[in-house]
Amino acid sequence: MYTITRKKVLASGVIEMGILAPRIAKAHKPGQFLMVMNREESERIPLTIADSDPAKGEVTIVFLEVGRSTIELGEDFKEGDSLFAVVGPLGTPTHIEPFGTVVVMGGGLGVAPIYPICKGLKAAGNTVVTIIGYRRKDLMFWHDKLAGASTETIVTTDDGSFGTKGFVTDALKTIHDGGRAIDRIIAIGPPVMMRAVSNLTQPWGIPTWVSLNTIMVDGTGMCGGCRVEIGKESKFVCVDGPDFDAHLVNWDEMFARMKVYTAEERAAILANHECKLHLDNIKR
């Protein structure tokens, strides 16, 4: 079970994997995630489902080698290997209905999880304007795939090496200031990017949703480790989310909670992997 059917390096430290998980592939809806355990004593890590193929019984994950377990998954596991456990699809699916024009934003690794959302929104009859952003041209992946799932696609790079120079927020501002009617915004990416989108759109009064990826153990509502304040109320990202109204998220609290195990994580990586280059990823 849970055999890795394919593995591809999309960019430096960014890996795409196909995993045989027929029940998950069949049940998956956009916005949901799964929990992966590499080995019997590995931690359970939440990863968003980037695509699913019920006919093949396969789900796709895209992850960044950023912590102890993702580095291990990316470095030690090959096509044909099996993972100890994969459970899902978890979380409440993304709310999809005919909204009108929806801007879907993916930053860096966030480009992968927005793919099923764009597909779903488009199938529901929305005009899907997708803004995807990368740091540099050589870190780009899936931009063609996203273009196929969207009505329009805008690519940004921080250094201008491809598409529009700047951040995804700059592109969003350009569209908005150009007078485009936007009915809804969905943003997935690094927490700093999602907060920046939230801050930008709050004065506009456009409903903005983000997908949070906090620290979890079980992913089914049991531990509460993922909890974060949403509109003055504590919510569990794993079951109440992962999608939340961006304007209600207590971002400061979420940022602090993401760092609970930074010290433990660094120590574990230093102890377990000779390659310390990955520590650069953690700092980000």
């Binding site: 004593e41 931690e43 359970r44 456990a85 153990v217 504590s234 079951v239 602090a256």
Partner: protein, 494 residues
């Protein structure tokens, strides 16, 4: 090989001879790891009886004709009979006898609150106060003996003709395991679904290794598998498998999804780093083995000063783990007094021996954080006991102006769990109390949805292993009658 113990050598009584009761003697203490040793490891604290000790203790049993212990036992184990078997050296047979009533004897022998149940009722107390027969320890001994010495082909012992009925069980904790085992013995085809990566539910994630070794839990589970139960892990019914699909594929469904949703107090600072729900803390340590520094991938914060809020079974497990993680100080903060503590006597004693502090008649008001969002202290308030409340215990009343601060770098909130809403919210028509506790007819274990039965913590809120085991057993009987009933008569809750 199991029946070769020389009983004559152990107790001076030959097979077939009437034994001499030793009820006047003191009950035999159980060997424990020393305090100094055990606070530095996660190995089991109570080491259990050896054969000689078990036989000696069993000789104290009067084997009364009208045993009160059997009445007091929630699953009515035939206690005098199994103890009699132990006294004659028939250890595996004793275990098999227990298994007619309880499918998890090695577990229940360890975690049941016997001092409030069978042992409280023991007639020996009348003439030899506080020295009831050590029923729990004997249960544990017999079952452990069978699981380690005499792994017979359980399936062949219990095999009944296949009925052709298919039953799904959701959740592999004590209720689900107990129900599955009984249904399998009755000849039904049972598929057991577990959301986590290991079967056992609360026995795996909730109860620590030093109180219930996971190898023992897995042996009990192997026994259930040997009865023919199919187990599939990593299946979250309601997510991985739609509830409707389960309903359509089986003749009956037993929901034993437990009480896995942690209660928090909703006071300021509860989301600071270092403030855990008991569920998270225990799951990291017990299921994910965060206590194994090197091999396990799951991290845990190592406390210097730990505060545990609550005084139930869970709170004592947590405080003892905190000490094992190296805490210089670990305190139970409880809003009532020692008398009202719901924890198991032995655990309370063990906690004190290991150095836990009790801060009683005290309740947290808010948590204080440092500049990085980590907890650095808790503001507590002193309490007074007022009139008894609905639980019969005196209600704690805050004393105004009594607030003070306790320094800590780890807080674990252990004030109870409620059932997960995943199944109720995915099953239209399933009636609940307080939004998550599934309503059943207490006779039939039938819910408001035909085909769907429920038991264990899912219908009571967090309770004990033995009550869940009983629910699983009684539900199995009701489900057996239901699937065989051509009319499939349904008796839902009122």
């Amino acid at each position: 090989m199991s029946e070769t113990i020389d009983i004559a050598a152990l107790n001076g009584v030959k097979e077939g001879e009437k034994k001499r009761p030793r009820s006047k003697e003191k009950r035999l203490e159980i060997a424990c790891q020393t305090v100094e040793a055990r606070v530095r490891n996660y190995d089991e604290v109570a080491l259990g009886y050896g054969p000689a000790e078990a036989v000696a203790e069993s000789m104290r049993c009067l084997e009364c004709p009208k045993p009160r212990c059997v009445v007091a036992c929630p699953v009515h184990i035939d206690i005098p009979t199994f103890i009699g078997l132990i006294s004659r050296g028939k250890f595996s047979q004793a275990a098999e006898d227990i298994r007619q009533y309880n499918n998890l004897p090695s577990v229940c022998g360890r975690v049941c609150p016997q001092e409030n149940l069978c042992e409280a009722a023991c007639i020996v107390n009348d003439t030899n106060p506080k020295n009831p027969i050590a029923i729990g320890r004997l249960e544990r001994f017999a079952s452990d003996w069978q699981l380690t010495h005499d792994v017979r082909d359980a399936a062949s012992v219990h095999k009944r003709p296949a009925t052709g009925f298919k039953i799904a069980v959701i959740g592999s904790g004590p209720a689900g395991l107990s129900c599955s085992a009984d249904l399998a013995k009755m000849g039904h085809s049972v598929d057991l679904f577990e959301a986590l990566h290991k079967p056992g539910g609360v026995l795996m994630y909730g109860i620590p290794e030093f109180r219930l070794p996971k190898a023992i839990v897995q042996k009990e589970i192997e026994y259930v598998k040997a009865l023919g139960v199919t187990m599939e892990c990593n299946v979250v019914v309601g997510r991985t498998l739609p509830v409707k699909e389960v309903l359509d594929s089986y003749d009956a469904v037993f929901v034993a999804s437990g009480a896995g949703f942690p209660n928090m107090m909703n006071i300021p600072g509860e989301n600071l780093n270092g403030v855990y729900s008991a569920n998270e803390f225990l799951t990291r340590v017990n299921l994910m083995k965060a206590w194994k520094n090197d091999s396990a991938g799951t991290p845990i914060r190592k406390p210097r000063k730990a505060v545990v809020v609550g005084a139930g079974f869970t709170a004592f497990d947590v405080v003892r783990i905190a000490l094992r993680l190296g805490a210089e100080e670990a305190s139970i903060v409880y809003r009532r007094s020692r008398e009202e503590m719901p924890g198991r006597g032995e655990e309370i004693e063990h906690s004190l021996e290991e150095g836990a502090k009790f801060v009683l008649l005290t309740n947290p008001v808010k948590y204080l954080g440092d500049e990085n969002g980590f907890v650095r202290g808790v503001v507590v308030q002193k309490m007074d006991l007022g009139e008894p409340d609905s639980s019969g215990r005196r209600r704690p009343v805050p004393i105004k102006g009594s607030e003070y601060e306790i320094e800590c770098d780890l807080v674990v909130v252990a004030i109870g769990q409620t059932p997960n809403v995943l199944i109720p919210s995915n099953l239209p028509g399933l009636a609940t109390r307080w939004g998550s506790v599934i309503k059943v007819n207490r006779e039939s274990y039938m819910t408001t949805v035909p085909k769907v039965f429920a038991g264990g913590d899912a219908i009571t809120g967090a309770a004990t292993v033995i009550l869940a085991t009983r629910a699983g057993r009684e539900a199995a009987r009701s489900m057996d009658a239901y699937v065989r009933d051509p009319a499939r008569t349904w008796n839902p809750p009122a």
